[in-house]
């Protein structure tokens, strides 16, 4: 009788190992990014640096003929201290005092980013 009973034999081990436990069917990558800068808002006009400065942003003619003839956009200026401002904003401030508004160090431009 005993040999007729249903006995669960252990499954053949070598074959099981070949079957993958997990299978990746779909993979979605998600990434975040920020600018490699210390601040994202212009501390002078308080507009976001990706937006034009407070003067250009409210100028209905912006893009066509903004404050300077050479710029139809509102470029950003990055200082050697790695703080950035709208070029228009920092230009008016350094006429008062040549210092970075955020850390008070001497202001000099490292880069001008036009978009």
């Amino acid at each position: 009788m005993a040999d007729q009973m249903d006995i669960d034999l252990p499954a053949p081990a070598p074959q099981q190992a070949k079957k993958k436990r997990f299978e990746v069917k779909k993979w979605t990558a998600v990434a975040f990014w920020t600018w490699d800068q210390n601040n994202e808002t212009c501390a002078i006009c308080r507009n976001h640096l990706m937006e034009p400065c407070i003067d250009c942003g409210n100028n209905p003619n912006f893009g066509a003929n903004s404050r300077t003839a050479t710029h139809t956009k509102c470029p950003r200026a990055v200082g050697v201290c790695n703080h950035s401002f709208h070029l228009h904003c920092i230009d008016t401030w350094i006429q008062k005092r040549n210092s970075c508004p955020l850390d008070n160090s001497d202001w000099s431009i490292k880069d001008i980013l036009k978009d």
Binding site: A43, I44, N58, T92, K96, P101, N104
Partner: protein, 188 residues
Amino acid sequence: MSSTEKRLLKEYRAVQKELAEKRSSIRDTGIVDLHPLEDGLFRWSAVIKGPDQSPFENALWRLEIDIPTNYPLDPPQIKFVVFGEEKIRQMQRKTGSGTRKVCYKMPHPNVNFKTGEICLDILQQKWSPAWTLQSALVAIVVLLANPEPLSPLNIDMANLLKCDDMTAYRDLVHYYIAKYSAYESNDV
């Protein structure tokens, strides 16, 4: 609308939003009120509370703020609202309809006793356009707890600190708060 007004409008919205919150960080910094007066955005009025663990603790002062036309390139002019003895007596008799009891004298080494003018470097040569009205007020609250007796506008108060007579300093502040506070009328 000038860019100065646009920036002030931004500051106004940010401050009102924070003041409306029940548990807001702006109150923790000692700012009780900050709003422009009715005639536009260039004159503001504020109320600050004396910082904890200082002689000025828990008392209130009103400040008036004048904004220059090219703010934030030039600093705002901020001073304490101070009144003469006569006027304060009058206000005390009237028992104003306001609920806020404000002190109209400011005995502090860096505040002019007669005019309420404040000597604070960031409101003068150290000003930067990154400051706001709100952060400038925080600096004034901090100044109350951290007087600078070496550049005094009120020599008597500065001398008490120079002599390290903290008891006299504290008692004098308490005396002025007790004697020259009045409920403000609603017209401010």
